[in-house]
Amino acid sequence: MIAPGPEVSTSTSSSDRRPSKINVRVLRQDGPGTPPYWERHQVEYEPDMNVISVLQKIAAQAKTSEGKKVNPVAWDCGCLEEVCGSCTMVINGRVRQSCSALVDRLLEDNSAEIELQPMTKFPVVRDLMVDRSRLFHSLKRVQAWVPVDGYYDMGAGPRITRDDQEQNYPLSQCMSCGCCLDACPQFNKVEVQRQAGESDEAFEARKKGAYESEFIGAHAISQAMLFNSHPVAKSLEKERLEVLTAPGGVQACGNAQNCVSVCPKQIPLTTSIARAGRAVTFYAFKKFFDR
């Protein structure tokens, strides 16, 4: 992906000093609600590996570094080019995409070991796979779309000024990976356990109920701002601001600003949050005094 420049060639020359094996510590979990446990794996070093290729080797070996046979480690991935967000996990204590986590860089920070954990704020499905449905449910709550459903021709859309385009384009790059949520001290894990004999529908409804009173998260606030500045999607502005002032709305933000620091797409999330803060200030005043 990245052409080897002069910096890379220096690291190649130092690769003689690199261990021929890579130690990987994985936080595994056999299923929802079961206790997590650490497991050590060792794989052959190859140049230009990323965490996904390490995980592929670990799964193929299905053997711990002590030689014990184990089930292959499960993980999620999709595009392998940091645009789908599905391979997001906590690598050496920090949330990021495993496809763009290059092993050579990770070994520069800590040559002894690479530590892999599932995302900390979402329920674990198995090993490094998590259920990020809360993230997508938040996007549904703020109606993060342009409401133009229909079979009739609506004509050309309204013009969007250059300034608006420049403000909106960065926000549209969100890939819903959840890094902003995992690093947020105000975004707490909500895990709803399935009850015995509970139907799919009842379980889903209970999950949604639990999600809705908790913090909606930086990604949804930013998408609400994106669609509130779209000339057509603006028609749902009030509905979005209503969600942003509901329990778990923008007021739950604690201004730690980790979201913007960890965002792999460098989306100005804290700018969106402050814009949302201003929008709900006016909205709340209007709602209170106009009623």
Binding site: G93, R94, T120, A183, P185, Q186, N188, K189, V190, E191, V192, Q193, A205, R206, K208, G209, A210, S213, E214, T245, A246, P247, G248, G249, Q251, A252, C253, G254, N255, A256, Q257, N258, S261, V262, P268, T270, T271, I273, A274, R275, A276, G277, R278, A279, V280, T281, A284
Partner: protein, 275 residues
Amino acid sequence: MTSTESSPSSPAGPSQSFLKKYDFLIRRLHSLSGLIPVGAYMCVHLLTNASLSGGPDVFQNAVFAIHSIPFLPVVEWVFIFLPILFHAIVGVWIAMSGHSNTRNYTYTSNKRYSLQRITGYIAFLFIFTHVLHLHGWFHWDWWLGLVEPVGMAQFRPYNAASSLAKAMGSLSIFWPLFYLVGVLACTYHLANGIWTAGITWGVWISPKAQKRASVACAAFGVLIGLAGLSSLAAVIKTDPVAAKEVEDKMYKVRVEGRMIKPDAHKTTDGHSNHE
């Protein structure tokens, strides 16, 4: 890590649903109360205290001015104590709803977030102890009879500097150190709180504007902190005996000139005669 196991029909007790339902209003009132009246009061308070650097007479005049406010106990409760109580209790609830993660995410803003909560807890303990130490919380006789013998409720408004200096020196260097930590924690909490309130209410939006605001809030914090530190230095330097002589003269002149009504409760001598 929290896990929620509640069914959709009963999302916990009625008290929690009240807090949840008015989440936005409560948090915005919390933000507002931190600025006005609590933050504004803190500035006035520290500047008044800093006037002690000009000597016990300057400070005593400032205290006379404050004690000429009509219905002072009502003003204290409505504009100072109750807002502080509200800000403190809601603040603890907010702080407990978050989970600090500065170990893995060592960004400055994340440390500021954690520090805001830590200084909030310190300020909570400091302010409640400080008000008990000097004001006493309540001025019922039976209550004062309980707390005064243990070194609380020590401030006498008409012997301001001398009673303050005595109270601060009563436990070796404990009180000066306690006030040093407390005042610095409150100063950080207010300065950083103004910055976060500006984001909360949507005053500074862009990263550049937030950076500028951050510098301005830091400068404000340094000024307020200096006012606090100079008051503390002035208290340590004050000689209670010499100060009391000045204050008693000022009190006598004010009473004779009918500028204040004699109030034994507010003087050191009258107070001790009363017991």
